[in-house]
């Protein structure tokens, strides 16, 4: 089986400082990978390097494209990479405001990716937008409301709908549940888990919330100071942490 994404020796430096270094892993179709670590450990840098938002200083990010098979996305031309970003990839930001157009209605937000890949039939675009609102549990009557009139949880769900409407195969998520209260978080996680299973998505989830990865991720990477210190099956890593930092991380979780 060809991995959907192969990351080989990714390194990003900010001057003399290390953003992330020597990160390598394979992600297979349908697999969800969690990346955890403290603030400043390089998880977001790594995610942005893989999603093409940052240019890594070294390494390869090989994606199994539909047309040409495995291609290194770091060296591919920018138009092709941006096209990939609109079709096969999706990026869910921590703050929905970064991923949405706040002055455009919910329907327009979902439709943007469809129109960007050449859809030119208003009726079809609207039907698909309404269908996706339903899937993320937003009422159809809100289709013409702007995201600024939505609650934080709804905005996040709208962002997810907007990203998944073109049927991507790989979703990058940067703290998708950050800043939401626990009950909304639970609902969002439930929704995400359903969508990931139903659509057979592969996903890479960056978070500092161990509960999120326990629920969503098949595999887990723990990062510290830009390096991967431990990797393995989620349950294995969380139940039997080997590295001192992972042990600290697991024992720091508050119990209710």
């Amino acid at each position: 089986m060809t991995p959907l994404l192969q990351v080989k020796g990714i390194e990003k430096r900010y001057g003399a400082r290390i953003g992330c270094a020597d990160v390598s892993f394979d992600l297979f179709p349908g697999e969800v990978m969690g990346i955890v670590g403290e603030s400043g450990s390089g998880k977001s840098t790594l995610l942005n390097c893989m999603a093409g938002h940052l240019e890594p200083d070294a390494g390869q990010v090989i994606f199994d494209t539909r047309a040409d098979g495995p291609v290194d996305t770091v060296t591919m031309s920018e138009p092709v990479r941006r096209m990939l970003g609109r079709t096969d990839w999706a990026f869910v930001h921590q703050h929905a405001r970064d991923g949405l157009r706040m002055s455009v209605s919910a329907g327009g937000n979902i439709g943007e990716r469809l129109m960007a890949v050449g859809d030119r039939h208003y009726g079809d675009i609207r039907d698909r937008a309404i269908d996706w609102l339903g899937r993320v549990e937003i009422e159809e009557s809100r289709v013409d409301d702007r995201p600024s009139a939505f609650s934080g949880g709804m905005q996040q769900r709208l962002q997810i709908a907007r990203n998944l409407v073109t049927g991507p195969r790989l979703v990058f998520m940067d703290e998708p549940t950050g800043g939401l209260d626990v009950s909304v978080q639970a609902r969002l996680l439930d929704l995400l888990r359903g969508l990931v299973r139903e659509m057979g998505l592969s996903a890479i989830i960056v978070t500092h919330d161990l509960a999120v990865v326990r629920l969503l991720a098949d595999r887990l990477m723990v990062m510290k100071s830009g390096h991967v210190v431990e990797a393995g099956l989620t349950d294995q890593v969380l139940d039997d942490p080997q590295h001192a930092y992972t042990q600290l991380l697991v024992s720091s979780v508050l119990q209710v």
């Binding site: 209605s105 329907g107 327009g108 439709g111 129109m115 208003y122 609207r126």
Partner: protein
């Protein structure tokens, strides 16, 4: 007279502007940056158009200026006087006789010829500006031909108003490549953008020049199920009876009376001289 250099600007500046114009003509619809000069009129009065006209005019040209179709409004009169004073060129109100026409917000009703140049005054040249405020990002979108966002605006129109309500500055795609703002002309004029004359667009404050060469394909953006429509008020002109021209609505009193009249004053005048009469003229003579 001649305290001024011909057409106010110095020769070096005119050369610089002509280079931008030529580049614009070579890449239709592409916004060419140029070093816009301070002109003796405020921004928003057509400083871009005036600079393009100044670089285009020759002493043999006949110059016409229209503002919203009219030859006799403040903007048109002051720019016409400006070039009478600084260039000493012949001016006219007749579209047929003009070789260079500077316009704000309209294309004349009379069909333009190959030996004519029309210069548009452009306030905001970037069609994506109100959707994407970052210039770096819109430039990238143009260079990579990522124009999905333009349709988001049209989508919003339909979802809010049931039809594409954008009535002016209606976005067009030039030669299957660049999406262009045709300046705030009514969308009624959009089909005329495929014309025989050279079209030059100047934005003074934003420092951009772009152009559409003669006989170039210009397509107004739309949806398959909501096709582009060139709309106008559904009336004949009350002065000349024309049914094919773009109309201005004029409120007559506070009792609900109003009239519709050609916005192109030269077209209306020439029709009346040819003996056509509209509703109000008939009522007054009866």
């Amino acid at each position: 007279m001649n305290e001024y250099n011909f057409a106010y600007l110095d020769e070096q500046t005119k050369r610089m502007i002509r280079r931008a114009i030529l580049k614009g003509l070579a890449v239709p619809g592409y916004q060419v940056p140029f070093a816009s000069r301070e002109m003796p009129m405020p921004y928003g009065w057509g400083t871009g158009g005036v600079q393009v006209s100044a670089a285009t005019l020759t002493p043999e040209d006949t110059f016409k200026v229209i503002d919203q179709g009219a030859d006799d409004t403040t903007n048109a009169v002051s720019i016409r006087k400006f070039f009478e004073n600084t260039a000493g060129v012949e001016t006219t109100e007749e579209t047929e006789k003009a070789t260079v026409i500077q316009t704000r917000h309209r294309i004349p009703e009379a069909k333009l010829r190959e030996d004519q140049i029309i210069v548009y005054q452009v306030p905001i040249p970037e069609p994506l500006r109100f959707l994407e405020p970052r210039e770096t990002e819109t430039r990238k979108m143009h260079s990579l031909e990522e124009y999905g966002l333009m349709h988001v605006k049209l989508y919003e129109d339909i979802s809010q108003h049931g039809a594409i309500s954008t009535a002016y500055a209606y976005p067009v795609k030039v030669l299957d490549r660049y999406v262009m703002d045709p300046s705030p002309i009514p969308k009624f004029d959009n089909p005329k953008l495929e014309m025989d004359a050279i079209q030059l667009f100047g934005a003074g404050r934003e420092q951009r020049i772009y152009a559409v060469p003669p006989h170039t394909k210009v397509v107004s953006l739309d949806f398959e199920d909501y096709p582009f429509e060139a709309t106008k008020a559904d009336h004949p002109c009350d002065l000349c009876g024309a049914e094919d021209s773009y109309l201005d609505e004029v409120i007559m009193d506070d009792a609900g009376n109003r009239m519709f009249v050609c916005s192109d004053t030269d077209y209306c005048r020439s029709r009346r001289e040819a003996g056509h009469v509209g509703r109000l003229v008939e009522e007054n003579t009866a």
